[in-house]
């Protein structure tokens, strides 16, 4: 049996930036991709600054997705997935 590391279907979701200015429908993201890489690619697609560390927040539960874990493992694929591209900043 072939052992294909990293291939686990395709994820469909809607993504927006924090201000709601940019909104994109994504149909073909591999579930095995790390959420951090997906966040940076979405930020680029939305023409957001590339020198900012971007993360993804799941709108259904407001949880910030772990950058290093596969995106498909961190969202409920049974529902309409909506994600927000969020700058990873903190005050203080």
């Amino acid at each position: 049996m072939s052992d294909r590391k990293g291939e686990a279907g395709v994820l469909r979701f809607e993504a927006a930036d924090v201000t709601g200015t940019h909104r994109v429908q994504v149909d073909d993201v591999a579930c095995g991709l790390p959420a951090g890489a997906v966040a940076m690619a979405l930020a680029s697609r939305m023409s957001l600054p590339e020198n900012v560390p971007w993360g993804l927040r799941d709108d259904s539960n407001s949880a910030l997705l772990d950058d290093d874990k596969p995106i498909g493992e961190q969202v409920n694929r049974a529902t309409d997935v909506k994600l927000t591209v969020t700058p990873k900043t903190h005050l203080g």
Partner: protein, 274 residues
């Protein structure tokens, strides 16, 4: 207690022993009927192109899925296709990567040339098996299987079977049936250019003729185990480079929503002349 010091493997000396002279730029020799060229950084093994009756000879890319590092390369000046196998010398220079319990030929360079000779006909060497999967994964850098180019992302996969060892990136999952033959020809040019321009990596279309996928791969099937620890990271870097280099063009050309009259012009000209 006496300790044995192993001197580093000197690939230049091994090259001389294998019949290569010390040329200023490139020295050549033959190994089991193959032409072998040796320069500062690479060993290039060349074989005759596939016969014209072979469908693979019609494709200036690939062939995908075959064991070893053989690929079709189109020479810039002559425009003729030939088959080449590129071996980075850096993979041979790490003495630690050549364990004492090896089963292959004693000399790393000779073992690699034997690998090239064994796989030139698309056959996996007798008795060869992949190293354990965990060992191969340890040679792949963290995040190495993800390539991002602006808003585009591409994920690679390790193909590990008892008789297969390769890394593959799928650039396009299924080419749309709406892509015209003319546009597919443009895509073929991009793939052929990428494959000829960069070493080690094969890139091409594979699968159902009407809806093929576009893949890039490096295949180490049949490689002497002693060189894999050094060869896998080099191959991964090469693969990531080629994927990043070609991802924009391939994605753009294979997006059925994008139209461009210039892409169809060559086909119209051909239709008119026939």
């Amino acid at each position: 207690m006496a300790t044995t010091m192993q001197s580093p493997y000197d690939v230049r000396t091994a090259g001389e022993a294998a019949g290569f002279g010390r040329g200023r730029r490139e020295s050549t020799s033959r190994h089991r009927g193959l032409h072998v060229a040796f320069d500062r950084r690479w060993v290039t093994v060349r074989a005759k192109a596939a016969p014209k009756a072979d469908p693979e000879a019609q494709m200036p890319w690939g062939p995908l899925g075959k064991p070893g590092l053989w690929k079709t390369v189109v020479a810039e000046k002559a425009g003729r296709a030939r088959r080449e196998f590129h071996l980075p010398l850096a993979a041979l220079e790490d003495a630690d990567a050549w364990p004492d319990d090896r089963q292959e030929a004693d000399d790393p360079l000779r073992a690699c040339l034997d690998w090239a000779a064994a796989t030139v006909e698309g056959v996996v060497p007798d008795g060869w098996t992949s190293p354990p999967r965990g060992q191969v994964e340890a040679w792949i850098s963290s995040g190495g299987l993800v390539v991002r180019s602006g808003p585009l992302l591409c994920q690679g996969s390790l193909l590990h079977e008892p008789r297969r060892l390769a890394l593959s990136f799928r650039l396009v999952g299924e080419l749309s049936a709406e892509i015209t033959p003319a546009r597919r020809a443009w895509l073929g040019c991009v793939l052929a250019d990428a494959q000829s321009r960069w070493r080690m990596v094969r890139i091409g279309m594979e699968g159902a003729p009407d809806r093929p996928e576009v893949r890039a791969e490096v295949d180490w099937t049949g490689a002497p185990h002693g060189v894999l620890e050094a060869l896998v990271p080099i191959g991964l870097d090469a693969l990531r480079w080629v994927v990043a280099w070609s991802l924009w063009s391939v994605t753009f050309l294979s997006d059925a929503r994008v139209t461009c009259r210039a892409w169809e012009a060559a086909q119209r000209k051909e239709d008119e002349s026939s």
